[in-house]
Amino acid sequence: MDTDDDFMSNVSSEDDILPDDSENDMSGDEDFGFDDEPDAHIDSQKDDGYKKKAAYDISFKVYQPSDVQKQQDELINEVNMILDISKEEAAILLRHFRWNKERLIEDYMDKPSQVLDAAGLATTSAGPPRMQVVPGFVCDICCEDEPGLQTFALKCGHRYCVDCYRHYLSQKIRGEGEAARIQCPSEGCNVIIDARSLDILVTPELTARYHELLHRTYVEDKETLKWCPAPDCENAIECAVKKKDLDKVVPTVSCLCGHRFCFGCILNDHQPAPCELVKKWLKKCADDSETANWISANTKECPKCNSTIEKNGGCNHMTCRKCKHEFCWMCMGLWSEHGTSWYNCNRFEEKSGTEARDAQAKSRVSLERYLHYYNRYANHEQSARLDKDIYHKTEKKMVQLQKESGMSWIEVQYLNSASQALQTCRQTLMWTYAFAFYLARNNLTEIFEDNQKDLEMAVEALSEMFEKPIAELADSKLKVEIMDKTSYCNKRRVILLDDTAQNLAEGRWTFNTELLGSGANGGPSTRR
């Protein structure tokens, strides 16, 4: 799908309506500087004439695999020349210093032997790496003592049979995905296997995997670089937003492959909710899945005639096939009331007073409150999924429409744009509910809820138009309406995201939870 590019250009075209916010604009410097300055902050960047962006837009660069390789090679060559050490050693040292060239050179100039030692390049050399037959040798790993056994040892002299070495390396590389920091198998020995020794020992197939992993560590070691998580995508993204900034910004980036994700946590785009809220929300939803199951169910009963209705489109406006009763899927209320007061459906009125005093009532209120937001979150998540199906059906629809109306392929593209807008806006709406769940009321929440309401109404309206039968779609008046509504939805989304991002950057929201995660503490945790 090349949907995002199109969508982003839609967004940019709305830029002129946005408040000027160059302050928070990280201008996309060509050479990003790779600074390891702990305090290179978001707003310290100069404005060098780049187009003004919305407050929620962040600067980033996409690198293809060859760029990533080139960057590494350049650094290795530089260190190789400056420090007069081999390329293998330069590579190991750079990896040891997590590719911070400046600190490596400084430290090395200062105390070379300590640096070499710490990086596992111990200087007590026993000659260049090679396989050897040693008389009277017994392998400490397999206990083999057969004469003529091929053995291998790194600079540390810990010698094992080649067969054991191979097993060990293949376990590390294939089993554990390690490459840059594989140590000598001896207990407590921190000498690191270099690429040259590895090439002597293992099969070409494993060598290829090893070099691939080494290549990956470059990106994994740098806080400013991350792999695009899309399956089969090999690009890396560079972005200056650091972990400690994640309470101020939601860094959504988009790869050349079209995938949009959060640079902070690698999940799909979750603006406007900050990473930590997303993490907590997803955990909460998983924990409460039992209570939540009934809500996300795909079927509901008509509030009037009780016949079962299955939701099969993204729109919340339900019409019972049997009795023609019109109601809202989310709150089951009359649809006619929603035209003017959608308000009732996006905001949870905090219960107060007598009820809340009672502890039991309190926990019920808190569950109700959670379900209120979860219900709406799950609804948009589900609708976004259904809208995705609709997107696939859209192409068919576009073909039919061409036949019926005589419009050209270009002329029916507006359906495509509408379908994309629906998905992106639902994605945003979904996260506004998680955001709202953790939001403590202050003088800004009302504006937020109004923005949320406006976007939600626009999305439902567009969704409804979009589901009209082909015969109606052929009407050129409806086409104009859909195009207008699409652009309106995108506009409302930009306004909502811009407002939340600005307030987040300036610390004006109050949340009833912490925004920066606490680090790892004791105790077991599940891997990955």
Binding site: D140, C143, P524
Partner: protein, 155 residues
């Protein structure tokens, strides 16, 4: 390779430990190269473990000793789970040398038993790891799939 990697090494280990083992360590059963049982005792008079015998279950993967064995304490009427800040009440042990990072293929069944012995000997805290109850209730994973944060490796 005709003989599986683990079998070759375990055969040699078995030969050695059938004839001699350090004091306080006893082989209970080793009928195959997948699972062995051993008993360990603490030799000094640490009141926490005095007069107690503990049962260890070792499980070996085919690529042992390249991969660490899975080692847990098991409970029997006369074999309790030792109280220790790194031993969960379901017998799972949080010890870095049993993890992929801390394991060295030079280690063996005997050296693991000795490390556990000394881990008990050196302990004076009559307590389980933090979050023991919750962990024991929730855990459905094999020890090797649990990522432990080693609290402090010198206990």
């Amino acid at each position: 390779m005709s003989v599986p990697f683990a079998a070759k090494r375990l055969g040699k280990e078995l030969n050695k430990i059938s004839s001699s083992l350090p004091p306080g360590i006893e082989l209970v059963s080793a009928d195959n190269f997948e699972e062995w049982l051993l008993d360990i005792k603490v030799l000094d008079n640490n009141p926490l473990y005095q007069n107690q015998t503990y049962r260890l279950k070792f499980r070996f993967s085919p690529s042992y000793p390249i991969e660490p064995p899975e080692v847990v304490f098991i409970q029997l009427p006369d074999r309790p789970i030792p109280i220790h800040p790194h031993i969960y009440s379901n017998g799972i042990i949080c010890l870095d040398l049993l993890g992929q990072q801390g394991w060295s293929p030079v280690q063996n069944v005997e050296s693991v038993c000795m490390s556990l012995q000394s881990m008990l000997t050196g302990n004076s805290k009559n307590e389980r790891p933090p979050g023991d109850e919750e962990f024991v209730r929730a855990n459905t994973m094999r020890p090797k799939d649990i990522q432990f944060y080693y609290h402090d490796n010198d206990v």
